[in-house]
């Protein structure tokens, strides 16, 4: 018994080998790269963005004009007692206001359209990229982590877009104000700007502290989220094991950590505020002080002085909001890094350029000298030679870890057989030379764990075969013996299944998977321990249906319960990655080697 036991160890899962999307600390020099990657998304919306920019320019212009119009009103008309002229100026002011209104509305609507379009594409790209990534990626990356990329990080980008727009408008108006101040009076303009270097220096000191603090907020929050995630998904165990109180204590402590980190980041985030306030008042004080002198010798008019004060009030407001948005920008850069890092993961299984489609298959499968490993150096399959005739039923048996699932995974190209390490052909076509889509559309697989999507029963059976008629669905359900229980459901085939399909038993779920597998009439059917998780009642149902299921198509069946495969045309025994025996049941029993041993043990075990 011991020789087989050795392989009953931990499956050498590739999970531990790589942490592609490990949380790292980003945040400084990477900004440029993120922005560069982001550029194509922006360019895609160039029409919207440029119209928004025009609207923004108009709006900023009208806003900058306000103090100027007021200045003109005061200096040219009010102080001169020209009432009619004043009316004109007010008319211009009102007209300007309407332009301002229209351009602001246009700017906001257009920019949010552009932003949402960008997000749409980003999410969509992420999702379809995830679809392209091979199983090896998915087995080593946590679902929760990917979820937080597609949701949390994209959400950060969304915030970023709105902040970026405000920031851009702020910078635009900053520039405009400087120009206006200089136009009105160069000397006073320079005086009012004299506090700026002070601001720049303090911001440079502040920045690195802020970055570090914002990053620690991010990582503490992601800890909180993963704590939540795990507890909600594992709720049934939590309650079964009475762990609520202990969990609460743990959660509270990570939540508290996050609270502390957020609070100390808050202190830093608001620090520039008082500074801007002080600098504003210093700047205005300077203008008033020196302006007073200039006014008295008539080198400066009163209205201009008023306009100066108004401009400076407006000048520092954008600076304040820039500092407030600083943390947002940092967060976005980190999120952007993570998003693009995910998009950069190369799918291991990729169609070669211009790969043709496979024709309708007969189902002749041939492995020639095929070897495979997930991790270099640890061979899972060694030099496999296997020929399966069309419409044959082949059973693959062997101890846990022998490589059975890997073998069938190669047929569906879940993993790619490397070209230097043997070949896998179907009807003589090397599957690597053809599109994967044309391959898997002719293969159906039933896995050990049934997986159903939320939605109607019939849509779960139909799944991606959208052209399948309802009648064909009923037909498939009848063949696998699922029709009766489906009809017993409240709404029959229209019953909506909940997540994890708790309203169905494991066996029922598996029957639906079987129906889904045959509804598209595949040429090749792969059953990977398909009856292992079901109760024996369901198993009997499936066994009965199998005759019909396996007829006229190539079938590859992995099973532990050896009684179920005695009728196979060919039984292949895998042991530690190599084929150790091949033949019919009777032949193998006569050989009296591993198969015969496993077979006997299988039954002895039920004693």
């Amino acid at each position: 018994m011991n020789s087989e036991n050795a392989s009953g160890k931990v499956k050498s899962s590739p999970k531990t080998s790589s942490n592609l999307i490990e949380e790292k600390l980003f945040g400084k020099a990477y900004n440029y790269r993120v922005l560069k990657r982001f550029l194509p998304y922006l360019l895609q919306q160039k029409l919207l963005i440029s119209s928004a920019l025009i609207a923004m320019l108009i709006f900023t212009g009208t806003q900058l004009a306000l103090p100027w119009i007021i200045k003109t009103g005061i200096d040219d008309y009010i102080t001169k007692g020209n009432y009619n002229g004043l009316k004109w100026i007010v008319g211009i002011f009102i007209a300007n206001s309407f332009i301002s209104w229209a351009s602001l509305y246009a700017q906001e609507v257009i920019i949010s359209k552009a932003g949402l379009a960008i997000l749409y594409h980003l999410r969509s790209n992420l999702f379809s990229h995830l679809q392209k990534l091979s199983l090896s990626f998915h087995t080593k990356t946590d679902v929760g982590r990917i979820m937080s990329r597609v949701q949390g990080d994209v959400f950060q980008l969304q915030e970023f877009i709105s902040v970026a727009v405000v920031t851009f408008a702020d910078i635009l108006s900053l520039g405009g104000i400087v120009v206006m101040l200089m136009i009105m009076n160069v000397k006073l303009g320079l005086i009012s700007m004299s506090v700026l270097p002070l601001l720049v220096i303090t911001m440079m000191i502040w920045q690195p502290f802020a970055i570090r603090s914002f990053l620690s907020v991010r990582s503490s929050i992601s800890k909180v989220n993963s704590g939540l995630n795990e507890n909600i998904t594992g709720i049934r165990v939590v309650q079964g094991m009475n762990r609520e109180e202990r969990n609460m204590k743990n959660f509270k402590s990570i939540n508290k950590e996050s609270l502390d980190a957020t609070n100390s980041a808050g202190k830093l985030a608001f620090l520039p505020g008082p500074q801007v306030d002080m600098l504003t008042s210093i700047s205005i004080a300077l203008v008033l002080f020196f302006g007073a002198g200039m006014a008295s010798n008539s080198s400066l008019e009163l209205g201009a002085l008023i306009a100066y004060v108004m401009y400076i009030q407006r000048f520092f407001e954008p600076i304040r909001s820039l500092t407030l948005h600083y943390s947002q920008l940092q967060r976005t850069m980190a999120s952007g890094m993570r998003i693009f890092e995910l998009l950069d993961v190369q799918p291991e299984v990729q169609d070669i350029r211009g790969a043709p489609q496979l024709p309708r298959l007969k189902g002749e499968v041939e492995f020639k000298n095929a070897s495979f490993s997930y991790v270099p150096g640890i061979e899972i399959l060694k030099d496999i030679n296997l020929h399966i005739n069309p419409s044959e039923t082949v059973a693959i048996v062997g101890p846990t870890g022998a490589g059975k699932t890997t073998l069938v995974s190669l047929i569906s190209r879940f993993y790619e057989l490397s070209r230097s390490r043997g070949s896998l052909t179907i009807d003589g076509n090397d599957i690597r030379d053809h599109t994967r889509a044309s391959l898997v559309s002719q293969i159906s697989t039933v896995l050990q764990e049934p997986f159903l999507f939320s939605g109607m029963v019939k849509d779960n059976i139909r799944y991606n075969n959208t052209e399948v008629e309802d009648s064909a669905i009923v037909e498939a359900a009848k063949v696998v013996g699922a029709h009766d229980f489906i009809m017993d459901l409240e709404k029959g085939y229209d019953t909506i299944l909940q997540e994890r399909s708790v309203n169905l038993s494991m066996g029922q779920r598996q029957l639906l998977s079987f129906a889904r597998a045959i509804v598209g009439n595949p040429r090749i059917l792969i059953l990977d321990e398909a009856t292992a998780s079901v109760d024996s009642y369901t198993e009997t149902l499936i066994q009965k249906a199998l005759k019909t299921l396996l007829k006229d198509r190539t079938s590859i069946v992995i099973a532990h319960r050896l009684s179920t495969i005695r009728g196979a045309d060919q039984i292949v025994v895998l042991d530690q990655g190599t084929i150790s025996e091949k033949g019919t049941h009777d032949q193998l029993m006569d050989q009296n080697r591993l198969y015969a041993y496993l077979y006997r043990m299988n039954f002895a075990d039920t004693a």
């Binding site: 209104w101 999702f127 609520e244 008082p274 029993m589």
Partner: protein, 596 residues
């Protein structure tokens, strides 16, 4: 509105922080609003000095000095206001996250059957974040803007009531716009968030079911499914942003028109000598402060709307009462002996047809009861009733004569171990996973139960032994190992009652043997309920209950039921006996004859 009030009440739990934030807020506003007045005075001083030889430097000095003092005061106090506001928001988010977490993990299975985990998680993350943002924006910034408005109104009315009236006449239409906008936006935000939840469900299913997706080559199908929802979400958000844009631009327009009016009317008054240029300037400065405030207030209105819908979604969960409730003065059960009785038990899932009907079972201490039946016959439901994951609709379940409804949930569950079909492992070490229900267990105890559960050798062969980290859903362990971890957990819990769902056979013969050994050690001496189709288990069971369509159709020992010649005999002949016969073939020394 009720929702906003509830959020406010949460913030009031931190009343000192809130109060200090308000003190800072009022101080900052007062300091801020003296500034335009000082600017105006300065202008007047300067205006008077125009044409005169020497200006009164001392009065300018005084004003400029006051401007610096007020500016600094404002800066410091508004830092306090912002920081306190932010930390208040953080504190509320902290409280609500704890509350949410705790509440969710206490809601019974009936709740979790209906709620997608993705949806729950999105509530806990995005909706809590929306509330956090609101506490600062809504509870601190909103009063700040209101105080600013009120103070500006008082100041300018004092200055010149006619001009003042002209300036504030626009306030009523402004608040009307905000009100209408708020109502509309709230409805849209609710839809946005629903859409987000659905999108996240699609994503999660896609990722957890990735093997199916890949096997069927349905990547494109999935992408179009996702993009469809993705587009829905975008469209809803465009609606929201249009509304937001209309609101903020209209507010600005109204304000600018009122500034125009002041320029015209005030200008005329300056011409006619009724007010000074400095006073007009003061008006304009105040209006400018007001317009800056209104622009800043725009997003706040949005945050109200978001907070209302986020609050609604959160409170919906927080208010959800668990269908399984403890009675007010629940009994704390000691360690029980384990005499379980089901008396005329009926059960249904949330008002649907009865899944279990008139169930009567008497399981004596230490006895094992096997449950047998077709899929959908009610076996699993029956198992979930004893630990009160669901409550029965009528009848009684008693343990040692105590109705389980009278017991506290934790003391009840401390007496029952459940080994489920779907073993969930947590992202921590093997050691922690085994000790999941009893974190006080010593390492020796853990090793001991691992030995009993036939797991010790395999764990030792792993690189990090008991400290080996298990990934999400423990996917780096085989099915058989996961099952034995569940058994080890149960052994460690050492409860008088065991519920075991042993209907799977997802393992090879060797592993199956290990599991059986582990199971036997687990159930020895305990009252056990076991779902199994394994002939050996059934033969050893003290009683077998055969369920059909929610009814108990037969019960008794293996030999009783075989001789009874009913359902059990039927199942036995069809499914169980073939196993047994092959088994006997092997036990006899004669040659094996396999049949196809």
């Amino acid at each position: 509105m009720k929702i906003i009030v509830r959020i406010i009440r949460l913030a009031l739990l931190h009343k000192w922080r809130l109060a200090s934030a308000y003190v800072c807020l009022v101080g900052a506003t007062v300091a801020y609003l003296t500034l335009p007045k000082l600017f105006g005075h300065a202008i007047d001083e300067i205006a008077m000095s125009i044409g005169q030889e020497n200006i009164s430097e001392s009065s300018i000095f005084k004003i400029v000095g006051l401007i610096l003092i007020m500016g600094t005061t404002k800066g410091i106090l508004s830092f306090g206001q912002h920081y306190l506001g932010e930390s208040l928001g953080n504190a509320v988010a902290y409280d609500i996250r704890n509350h949410f977490y705790n509440h969710i993990q206490r809601l019974s299975f009936g709740f979790h059957d209906k709620h997608h985990t993705g949806n729950l998680i999105s509530r806990a993350i995005t909706d809590v974040e929306a509330l956090r943002g609101f506490v600062n924006a809504g509870l601190i910034n909103t009063p700040y803007h209101i105080v600013t408005f009120v103070l500006i109104s008082i100041i300018i009315l004092n200055l010149n009531w006619q001009l003042g009236m002209m300036a504030i006449i626009f306030l009523p239409p402004l608040s009307l716009i905000i009100g209408i906008f708020r109502l509309k936006l709230r409805a849209i935000w609710l839809r946005v968030q629903e859409n987000m939840g659905e999108l996240s469900t699609i994503l999660q299913e896609n990722l957890t079911g990735v093997r199916v997706v890949k096997a069927f080559g349905s990547e494109e199908f999935e992408t179009s499914k996702f993009n469809h929802k993705n587009a829905d979400l975008s469209n809803e958000m465009i609606k929201a942003s249009k509304l937001q844009a209309l609101n903020s631009s209209s507010m600005l327009l109204i304000l600018m028109i009122s500034i125009g009016t002041i320029l015209w009317y005030g200008g005329a008054q300056v011409i006619s000598g009724q007010i000074t240029a400095g006073e007009l300037a003061q008006f304009l400065f105040y209006m400018q402060v007001m317009s800056l405030n209104i622009r800043a207030a725009g997003p706040i209105v949005g945050s109200f709307a978001r907070a209302t819908s986020a609050g609604q979604r959160l409170f919906e969960i927080l208010d959800f009462e668990s269908p399984v409730k403890e009675s007010p003065n629940a009994l704390h059960l000691p360690r029980l002996i384990g005499h379980v009785k089901f008396e005329n038990v009926y059960f249904n899932y949330a008002g649907n047809t009865n899944v279990l009907k008139n169930i009567c079972i008497d399981a004596k201490p230490g006895q094992s009861t096997a449950l047998l039946g077709a899929i959908g016959s009610g076996k699993s439901s029956l198992m979930h009733l004893l630990p009160r994951f669901y409550d029965i609709s009528s009848g009684h379940i008693t343990i040692d004569g105590i109705d389980i409804k009278k017991a506290s949930l934790s003391s009840l569950r401390r007496n029952i171990s459940l080994v489920q079909q779907d073993v969930f492992l947590f992202g921590s070490s093997i050691r922690d996973n085994i000790a999941y229900g009893r974190e006080d267990a010593s390492f020796d105890e853990i090793v001991n139960v691992a030995k009993v559960a036939q797991l010790h050798h395999e764990i030792q062969e792993m690189e990090n032994g008991y400290e080996t980290l298990l990934g999400e859903r423990g996917s780096n362990l085989s099915g058989g190992q996961r099952q034995r971890i569940a058994i080890a957990r149960a052994i460690l819990m050492d409860t008088p009652i065991i519920i075991l769902d042993d209907s799977t056979s997802s393992v090879d013969a060797n592993t199956e043997k290990l599991i059986r050994k582990a199971t036997e050690s687990l159930i020895r001496g305990r009252t056990t309920f076991i779902i199994s189709h394994r002939i050996s288990t059934l033969q050893k069971a003290d009683q077998i209950i055969v369920l059909d369509n929610g009814h108990i159709v037969e019960s008794g020992s293996h030999s009783d039921l075989i001789s009874f010649n009913g359902h059990y005999r039927n199942i036995y002949d069809l499914q169980l006996k073939p196993q047994e016969e092959v088994m006997l073939e092997f036990e006899s020394p004669c040659k094996v004859t396999g049949t196809g």
